[in-house]
Symmetry: C2
Subunit: 193 residues, 2 copies
């Protein structure tokens, strides 16, 4: 998606350790007009996927998922990162290792909000090694729901998550795929799509 | 806001310990059509507040804030609940005690995304004792920014947060104010607005 790639080139900052900071528009401060363009593009890419629910994971996936949901007219469910006393014990649960936060999260979704009738579009801001996505896929599988597709804002194409998910047959669409980035020069190379 | 009150009556569940569960439409599964109606109402209530930024706190405020932001044409910044390696050290920081999670969070906002030029509308899903809101107000004050208003989905009117904030002169608008609720009968009483 040209608009997102241009924005990453303009405002993204490459840091040592394969970190791409996009917190001025994507995952701390959020440009809602950009999110609308992304939502429209997700709808175009998954127009025939028969989506009836969007799923994401807190926190930075939520804004993108909620704005995108307007183009699908479906509710959003977000996986929560820790057991809350406000959530019944009746949950699907999995563990996810976070690259960013260098820790393991327990992630839950209430059984009330995922069922075998659901065709779920999973949306998230980043895909790198795929740990978070595999956790969400575990939860969808545990619910007996179907994965209608996986929509990612930025895929780190030099990490293995995207390739492994495509090899498993998932309909994965990443709006921008970074194939290389250089913390010295700040250069970012996108995969042609 | 009639639509939200009716939805709380229909789908909200009162639990012991002053817990109102609205996770079927507000803060776990999210009804985006309802969020749009809420966003439109926030815009009506804060039409003259000269808002140039919306601020919220992860996780359950993000969806409401992002959908509402479309009616204001402004970006959203969300306060993060823990130090991330993706965030520079240059942050405004405060501690917030969570009633729901029975713990203290460190909450941060990058200094890049709040400045003295900002007129901030703070949006959140719940207001009860006001701990989270006071933390967000601390951060806005530390940035030298102005509070254009505070927009809440559901205020627990039988707790002190709302009254204290109004006494301090803030323009606080809650779309639904629960004045009483009964875990035995499930009855919910709203304040007339």
């Amino acid at each position: 998606m040209k608009l997102l790639e241009e924005r990453i080139q303009k405002d993204g900052i490459v840091k040592a350790g394969n970190v791409l900071k996009v917190d001025s528009f994507l995952n701390h401060q959020m440009d809602i007009a950009l999110f609308n363009a992304m939502g429209e593009e997700f709808k175009r890419l998954f127009a025939n996927a028969d989506v009836n629910k969007i799923m994401t994971i807190e926190a930075s996936g939520i804004g993108i998922a909620c704005v995108a949901a307007q183009y699908f007219n479906v509710p959003v469910v977000f996986a929560k990162k820790s057991q809350s006393v406000n959530i019944d014990g009746d949950v699907y649960s999995t563990e996810i290792e976070s690259f960013t936060h260098k820790r393991v999260y327990n992630v839950i979704v209430s059984k009330k909000y995922l069922s075998p009738n659901d065709r779920v579009l999973i949306i998230d801001d980043f895909l790198a090694n795929g740990c978070a996505m595999n956790g969400l896929l575990d939860i969808v599988a545990a619910a007996g729901a179907s994965v209608a597709g996986i929509g990612i804002a930025i895929e780190k194409g030099f990490q293995q998550g995207g390739a492994l998910l495509r090899a498993r047959g998932y309909h994965l669409e990443s709006l921008a795929i970074v194939d290389a980035m250089n913390a010295q020069t700040g250069e970012i190379t996108f995969r042609a799509q």
